[in-house]
């Protein structure tokens, strides 16, 4: 085969990759894109190491939430969530499983603003402006599929080895 004959095949391959890329990008396991702004936080300043930990653990929490609600399994919720947030997420998974429903949170972007960091460092409140594609399914039937922007008030507390989400409460606006 002459060298010139490869070009059409390369073109087809590149086109195929370009076509398939959005499918992979929409995977539930895709890590959420999370940024954190902490310039206005008080009364305690957020140390860079703590900021990195909060970012890492909040991102992991949303990846876990997406896995739990897509697969209707509570296991991913063990660890990143506690308190009220863990309670309602477990209730949601149980209800989804009972009714044959599932939810997918795709292409997540979270813009966090730290608004309160307790004097002793044992509580942080964040405001999350989240963008994602929310897909709700009844079995194989798609009943809702929209790109949504939601505002969440988030409370996180430190546990033995990570920051855990205790409160995840959607609000119309901050």
């Amino acid at each position: 085969m002459s060298r010139l004959n490869w070009w059409p095949m390369i073109g087809i391959a590149v086109s195929a990759i370009a076509l398939l890329a959005p499918c992979y990008a929409a995977d539930t396991d895709q890590a959420p894109n999370v940024t954190l702004e902490s310039a206005k936080v008080g009364p305690r300043a957020l140390e860079p190491l703590t900021e990195r930990s909060v970012l890492r653990d909040y991102s992991f929490a949303w990846a876990s939430l997406a896995r739990a609600l897509d697969s209707n399994s509570v296991e991913p919720l063990d660890g990143p969530f506690a308190g009220s947030a863990a309670e309602w997420l477990r209730d949601t998974v149980a209800d989804q499983r009972r009714n044959g429903l599932s939810a997918r949170y795709l292409n997540q972007t979270h813009r966090l603003e730290a608004v309160f960091y307790a004097p002793e460092g044992d509580l942080i409140e964040l405001h999350d402006t989240a963008d994602y594609d929310l897909q709700l399914r009844d079995g194989d039937k798609n009943i809702y599929n929209r790109h949504v922007t939601r505002h969440y008030v988030v409370l996180m507390t430190p546990s033995a080895d990570r920051w855990v989400v205790r409160q995840l409460q959607a609000v119309p606006q901050f």
């Binding site: 308190g83 209730d91 409140e125 709700l136 009943i143 809702y144 929209r146 609000v171």
Partner: protein
Amino acid sequence: MSWSINTAWRDSKSGLTYAAASLICLAGICTAQVGEVRAPSAAVAGNSISLSTTGSGSATFYFIGPGVSGKRGVKLGEDIQIPAKELRYAGSYLGIICEDSCQSVEFFVNASSPSRLAFLVHPSRAPVAESDAISGVVLPFDSNGNLILSPTPTDFELTAAGATVMSRRDSTQDGIAWFRANSGRSAGALQVSASVNAVQSRRIVQQVASDPCNLRISGQRAAKGIIVETAPVRDCAGNPLPDGTIVTFTARDGEGKSTVDAPIKKGIARAEISAAGPIVVSAASGVVMGNDLRIQ
């Protein structure tokens, strides 16, 4: 005519079907009566609501929100009752009705009235007369564990031995109120309370003596050496240091230096040091040094 393709246009399997259906509807050929669902403008957690629907015939209703993901059949044109148990959590809810296609409404549920306070107070033991030594953070929650985000008056009060040390009214901001306060001048229990409406939460901070103000030691020869002891050890506010506080005695003689740690018991620390000849003894506790004691 309803634009009901909105909720399913990305479905990869049926996307083309919906796209085709939408084009037909756009052309005015679509005649099916698709229902709509409407939500109340305000809803409170733990209270039932009803969603109104339009249209006719039967449809499947989905109710999606924090802690709930329900599905049931409904008749269009009738109200859909949502019981209180499906509205326990504050947040964003979706009501979706599906016939051939789906229509949805999103609404928010707010927290109800304060029922419980999370009250974080630090530290559990604080030295007396120290500025900004005590801090407290309070978060009001309703009976379902929802954070109350509307500004809510909060009263903080610090009392010791029946007397008010500090009293302050504040308002929650983003669901949180907090304070920072100096510790009092007397050792003992400090009661810290936070009140939101009729809900109160209390914590106790044990105020303990601060560092010793000074150390004075005295000594005398005994059969096997010398016995040294402190005068009653107090902080600068006159509070006796708690039993167990360590005082370090250091003895220097011609042969070198030796140290012994002695805990305070009933306000006094005492130690026995072996020494035959002349000796100089000093004492220290925390950052405070005592007088030198020379014994011949």
